[in-house]
């Protein structure tokens, strides 16, 4: 077990591509995305996800502690422009090595 950082981003689904790109650029290759998240933030609630493109995505990415600074620098301008929130916390990773021949 060793310490990694967990990044949680909640943003409108149309920002997804841009955010993943900027995570990638920051060297954070892995991520998980949950779609169809409804919610309420500064811009008011969103309930009619399907109809009005107001659905959010919840992006989770675990990364090395030293990557956090770059991530924040890259993601913040996006959130500043289009809205959304980003949080960082500490978690322990359970290392696993995939026995995939192709790796």
């Amino acid at each position: 077990m060793h310490l990694v950082k967990k990044i949680e981003i909640i943003a409108n689904s149309f920002e997804l591509g841009k955010i993943l790109e900027s995570l990638d650029k920051s060297g954070v290759q892995g991520h998980a995305v949950i779609r169809n998240v409804s919610g309420k933030g500064l811009q008011g609630g969103a309930e009619d996800l399907d109809m009005t493109m107001l659905d959010n995505v919840y992006i989770i990415a675990f990364c090395l502690p030293e990557q956090i600074k770059t991530v924040v620098e890259n993601v913040r301008p996006l959130l500043n422009k289009f809205g959304g929130t980003c949080y960082v916390s500490d978690v322990m990773e359970i290392r696993s090595v995939k026995c995939v021949a192709s790796l």
Partner: protein, 322 residues
């Protein structure tokens, strides 16, 4: 006599189910159409009208009438957002005004479909190429809206990625599927129509009905947003459709459109987008408040058009074409 048309419009399953949806929200029933069913239905409706329009377009061919109609459509799509912008600037800042203007310059496919179902109901003919007009009128307002923002805000050099804006305007899923289905209709013609008919025609009315049930739910949930929207915007959302439809009807009369086409054209002018344009605006004018442009289009203009507007515009046609 106008009231008569309204009643005969209301007493149809799609409109009644729209009311049922509104009622469900008002009485706080837990009725809801789970995602992604509405999305599926809206893809289906676009595919079906696009395809049908294409099949009919190839039958009628591209005549002068067609060209004139499409020209008129493009003119209205560019002019409407321009003059509504200045009306909106009376009360709103540039961002909100431009976004709302774009919304009303574009169209609502479901309003169009409801109007065509109404015409079928009354036995009034209309042409398949009106679907091409629908497709043409969806995008220009997005560009106009953005140009307005660029012109009328301090020059902090908004670095718009224009390629992205154009893609959003002309290749968003609604426009893309509609135009694609239209072209496929043109390519496969009568033959393709026959094999797809039970799917694209048989179920069409039923899916529209189901979809309007959901639209009722969605529109009603937005009604409480209208308090924040204010009296000015609500008035705007009812009067502007009438004005736009009137202008549309005058143009239609000028170029001598058949009555059915004229109604559809008026409805296109009168309707406001609540899918494609809002999506584009969030991306290109994030400063604008989405609840303003979505709620007015969805909770005021859409219900107004399908309940009162459609028969009202037909009444206007009865007067003008007499």
């Amino acid at each position: 006599m106008d009231a008569n048309l309204i009643v005969s419009n209301i007493l149809n399953p799609p409109i009644l189910f729209f009311f049922l949806g509104i009622l469900a929200v008002l009485v706080k029933s837990d009725l809801e159409i789970p995602a992604p069913v509405p999305k599926l239905f809206s893809l289906y409706l676009l595919l079906a009208i696009g395809f049908k329009g294409g099949v009919e377009l190839i039958k009628s061919g591209v005549t002068q009438e067609v060209v004139l109609t499409l020209l008129a459509a493009m003119v209205m799509a560019c002019v409407v957002p321009l003059y509504t912008f200045f009306i909106l600037r009376i009360r709103l800042d540039t961002y909100d005004a431009a976004a709302i203007a774009a919304t009303y310059g574009s169209i609502s496919a479901v309003t169009f479909i409801t109007a065509s179902a109404f015409l079928t109901e009354l036995g009034i003919d209309f042409d398949g190429y009106m679907v091409a007009a629908l497709a043409l009128m969806e995008s220009p307002a997005i560009i106009v809206g953005l140009l307005l923002v660029n012109l009328f805000t301090e020059s902090e050099k908004r670095e718009f990625a224009w390629s992205e804006v154009l893609r959003e305007a002309f290749l968003n899923s609604s426009v893309f599927l509609l135009v694609g289905s239209l072209l496929i209709g043109v390519l496969t013609g009568e033959h393709g129509w026959q094999v797809l008919e039970p799917f694209t025609q048989g179920m069409f009315y039923g899916v529209l009905t189901f979809f309007l049930l959901d639209m009722g739910l969605v529109a009603a949930r937005r009604i409480k947003d209208l308090q924040k929207t204010g009296f000015f915007l609500i008035t705007f959302a009812i009067l502007i459709p009438i004005v736009n439809a009137a202008i549309g009807l005058l143009i239609a009369r000028l170029i001598d459109m058949p009555q059915g086409n004229a109604l559809l054209f008026a409805v296109l002018c009168a309707s406001a987008s609540y899918i494609a344009v809002p999506a584009a605006m969030r991306l290109t004018v994030p400063e604008a408040n989405p609840s303003l442009y979505i709620s007015t289009a969805l909770a005021v203009t859409f219900p107004f058009n399908i309940i009162v507007g459609i028969p009202l515009y037909l009444y206007g046609i009865n007067l003008l074409w007499r």
